[in-house]
């Protein structure tokens, strides 16, 4: 099938239904029968996608084109809706330009809902617009299945408890009709009857409490298990998500999903799930009792309920929009407050207190105005609605009273009827609030399913090979972009001998860290391969592979715990002598033993009790203890004073010895021990060689060295 995608902006900026296709070495853009652009790829170097604001363009770059790109040819223009498919199209065409091979387009990542035509959200297999609540409830049911028997038992007991409570009106009715207002039987028998009823009421109330206790205990056990299992399930999935998935989410968002959303789901399942049985059962039982007493009175009570429920829903929809605005203002006010408090030093040093007070006062006043308006509306309308909901009670007094006077029902029955009204309204109110509760639950469910269902970008192959890293590392024809349409690395070819140290050099954004990310297999290359000892790293078990890597970053994260725990994180089974040896090799031992608690010193959250250099040495000790086959040093010595850097350089020199190492450093002097330097510019390797060779070449590296010498002279 020929590669073909749609584009949607015409030459004059109008929205169109255009088609972009590629067949027999010709790229064509057309709308209906009108061809906007058609050109052969003969003499074309590349198809380039450029993104602007809300749109993008596709351009053909001719071979030997001048650097200003003025000889390029614009193929078409499109909105950001088309950018992913057009990017994929671009990849296929560029592959053809480079190799002459025609490949199929991947549709992964830009699937469209067959019902509404909207794009699926990234990583999801469901259209969030078309998904029905029943689908979510079904999935919730599947998740809760193991806990349903326990919840069912809890539900049975809570229903039994309610039935015992509901005995009260019945017994009261009997008390009034059979004993208090019944002069047909003897006083003695009436007293005995009263005692019997009193005992029955006491027993029913005691049983109600006992059943309630049993139900609560069962529900607590089930809810504890469900809550724990859900949290672990989501946490496990979060841990396994690929780096590209994680970079799209904030740590706060992920934490909320693991704790808040799982908690909401647990609460719904355990509380509402249990009440569902109780409320439905109670409603049916009470309805039967009421109908038995008087079908007419029952009709009077039930009749206003559907109308009032509808009115409540309409009112809720209306008022919730106003409350939403209030929440928005609250959030704005608190974010202004947060900003000012956090940046109070800046505010004071700029002398802008008055301006900030004015800004906060305006936000606060707006919030107050909206809140007052909403409270007024709520205070007036809601009591009215609840009044109308229970309006049947007044009719019951009128019609019921007449029926008692006419002898159609007894006083006890009227009392029983009145008492049961509360029992019938309660489930009705609960049921009317259920859609709102379901809507709240749905938001949490979607967020959880988004994590659970997310597909891994970096998947292991079926039956992966063991990760054997004792051999040369070969990078072949590698191309990669975080977005399919924006290549960050192009045509990377590099062979690194086992034990060789490679220094990666280049301007910021050149692609050095991206190359490191690919070597660590945090991402998979779009095309080309990285292999070690002849095996493609994609064919290896990725966890086993990464176990043999050691990484020292510029900013290294230390976990809350002791110095010892943090070093031993690399190898939890290491004994103290190994941990001390690693610390010594990292020049960390001396400062650790100076600490009052030595290796047992608690480092504090993110190691804030330690200096930058100390944290760095701990992370080197971690890498030493791991004894990695491949070592990655990503700006490991930047942001340190010269004396500390000297100590860390010494530690790193020990660590690097005999290991395949990739080091990135902007300060070029720190790469003096590298066997080879690789200069990356705009995603391509442009120079390779030793420090001396590259200086001789008088290229980018030489210019970088000169620039740094100039800067240090100025300093």
């Amino acid at each position: 099938m020929k590669p073909s995608v749609t584009f949607d902006i015409g030459p004059s900026g109008d929205i169109i239904d255009g088609t972009l296709s590629f067949e027999g070495g010709v790229v064509t853009a057309k709308c209906g029968d009108e061809i906007y652009f058609s050109a052969s790829l003969e003499g074309i170097e590349e198809l380039v996608l450029r993104t602007y604001v809300g749109c993008g363009t596709l351009e053909l770059v001719p071979e030997n084109s001048p650097g200003d790109m003025s000889k390029s040819l614009e193929v078409c223009r499109f909105s950001m809706t088309c950018v992913e498919p057009v990017g994929e199209f671009c990849k296929v065409v560029n592959h053809y330009i480079r190799t002459g091979e025609e490949t199929e387009m991947s549709t992964e990542g830009f699937r469209v809902c067959p019902i509404c035509g909207r794009h699926y959200a990234k990583g999801l297999n469901t259209c969030l617009f078309c998904v029905e609540k029943s689908y979510l409830v079904k999935r919730l049911f599947a998740i809760s299945k193991p806990y349903l028997p326990a919840l069912f038992i809890a539900g049975v007991f809570v229903a039994l408890s309610s039935i015992c409570t509901a005995m009260l009106p019945v017994l009261n009715s009997k008390l009034i009709d059979n004993y208090l207002y019944n002069s047909a039987i003897l006083a003695d028998a009436r007293v005995k009857g009263v005692v019997r009823i009193a005992v029955l009421i006491a027993v029913s109330q005691i049983l109600s409490r006992i059943f309630n206790m049993i139900s609560k205990r069962r529900a607590n056990v089930a809810s504890g298990d469900l809550s724990n299992d859900l949290r672990v399930l989501v946490y496990d999935k979060v841990q396994r998500l690929s780096v590209s998935s994680l970079t799209g989410k904030t740590s706060g968002d992920l934490m909320k999903r693991v704790s808040n959303d799982t908690e909401k789901i647990k609460n719904f399942v355990t509380e509402q799930g249990m009440y569902l049985m109780e409320k439905v059962l109670m409603f049916v039982v009470v309805l039967v009792i009421l109908l038995r007493i008087s079908p007419l009175l029952t009709l009077i009570v039930i009749l206003p309920v559907p109308f009032v429920t509808c009115a409540i829903r309409v009112y809720w929809k209306w008022i919730s929009l106003r409350f939403r605005k209030q929440w928005r203002c609250e959030s704005r006010e608190s974010s202004i407050l947060h900003d000012i408090v956090k940046g109070i030093r800046v505010v004071k040093t700029f002398g802008s207190e008055a301006r900030e007070i004015k800004k906060f006062s305006a936000a606060s006043k707006k919030l107050a105005d909206i809140a007052v308006g909403n409270e007024h509306r709520w205070a007036i309308v809601f009591p009215l609605l609840t009044f109308f909901m229970g309006i049947g009670e007044f009719f019951v007094i009128y019609f019921g009273g007449r029926m008692v006077i006419n002898g159609q029902i007894s006083i006890g029955e009227l009392l029983e009827f009145n008492l049961f009204l509360a029992y019938i309204y309660q489930p009705l109110r609960w049921m009317s609030s259920l859609p709102q509760k379901l809507a709240d639950l749905s938001a949490s469910l979607i967020k959880i399913f988004e994590i659970i269902d997310e597909k891994h970008d970096v998947e292991d192959v079926e039956d992966p090979k063991p990760a054997m890293l004792d051999g040369d590392l070969v990078i072949k024809d590698l191309r990669f972009g975080y977005k399919a349409y924006e290549p960050v690395l192009r045509d990377i070819n590099l062979t690194v001998k086992q034990g060789e140290m490679i220094g990666l050099v280049g301007h910021s954004g050149a692609g050095k860290s991206t190359l490191i990310n690919l070597i660590m297999r945090l991402y998979d290359a779009d095309t080309g391969s990285i292999s070690i000892a002849g095996t493609d790293i994609r064919d290896m078990n990725q966890y086993e592979f990464r176990e043999q890597l050691g990484v020292v970053f510029q900013e290294n994260f230390l976990f809350a715990g002791t110095v010892y725990d943090n070093i031993a994180y690399a190898r939890p089974d290491a004994d103290p002598s190994e941990v001390i040896a690693a610390a010594k090799a990292a020049n960390a031992h001396n400062f650790i033993i100076e600490l009052p608690d030595g290796y047992n010193t608690v480092v504090g959250e993110d190691g804030h009790n330690l200096s930058g250099g100390e944290r760095q040495r701990l992370s080197i000790a971690r890498a030493v203890l791991r004894n990695p086959a491949i070592l990655i040093l990503d700006e490991a010595t930047s942001a340190l004073d010269p004396e500390t850097e000297e100590q860390i350089q010494e530690a790193l020199a020990r660590l690097v010895k005999g290991r395949t190492t990739f080091a990135i450093a902007h300060r070029l002097s720190t790469l003096r021990n590298a066997d080879r330097l690789v200069v990356i510019e705009k995603g391509r390797i442009v120079e390779t060689g030793s420090h001396r060779d590259l200086l001789m070449q008088n290229g980018i590296y030489a210019r970088l060295v000169m620039a740094q010498r100039q800067t240090s002279k100025l300093n």
Partner: protein, 178 residues
């Protein structure tokens, strides 16, 4: 700070930092290149292809237009488009419209909220369009009398003047605005 103090403070900053070159119409002439790209003759130098970017796209869309080459190396800044002749203004605006695409919403048919996403059904003139905005508060950019809505794909939809769209449409969107 008085103007004098301010000038003195500016003088202490290195000239390299202050090298923003403001271009007057006499120093800069735009033209359309053979392949349809915008070019410019700036001073003595001819640039076959230049890129224009608004420095303040929301607050001053027709002022402070940065001119750079395709490598994003800045060549100069046009302070006001209106300083240029009509034909030059047309070329500048054509290039800016090419770079900034935000169709104008004339009517909002419906806004549905589902699972934290806002599903808009709107009219862009005669054209019906639906789009999705995630976290509406964070994806509104206010400007002048209106604002831009940014959808999940990165498209922008513009309401030029909120008070001029139909009242029904206003009522639908109003609760979501500050």
């Amino acid at each position: 700070m008085s103007t004098n103090q301010s000038d003195k403070a500016m003088q202490t900053i290195s000239p390299e930092t202050l090298r923003a070159v403001y271009l007057s119409p006499s120093e800069c002439e735009f033209f359309k290149s053979e392949n349809g790209f915008l070019g410019a003759v700036i001073g003595e130098e001819r640039h076959e292809r230049v890129i224009l970017a608004r420095a303040l796209p929301l607050s001053c869309p027709d002022e402070y237009i940065c001119i750079s080459d395709v490598e994003r190396k800045e060549i100069g800044i046009v302070e006001k488009i209106s300083d240029f002749s009509e034909s030059q203004q047309a070329l500048i605006n054509e290039e800016l419209n090419h770079r900034y695409f935000s169709p104008v919403i004339t009517e909002i048919k419906s806004i549905k909220e589902k699972f934290g996403n806002f599903y808009f059904d709107v009219l862009l003139g005669d054209l019906k369009k639906n789009f999705t905005v995630k976290d509406l508060t964070k994806n509104i950019r206010y400007h002048g009398e209106g604002f831009d809505l940014i959808d999940v794909d990165g498209n922008r939809y513009r309401i030029i003047n909120f008070s001029e769209i139909p009242a029904k449409s206003r009522r639908k969107l109003e609760p979501y605005l500050y």
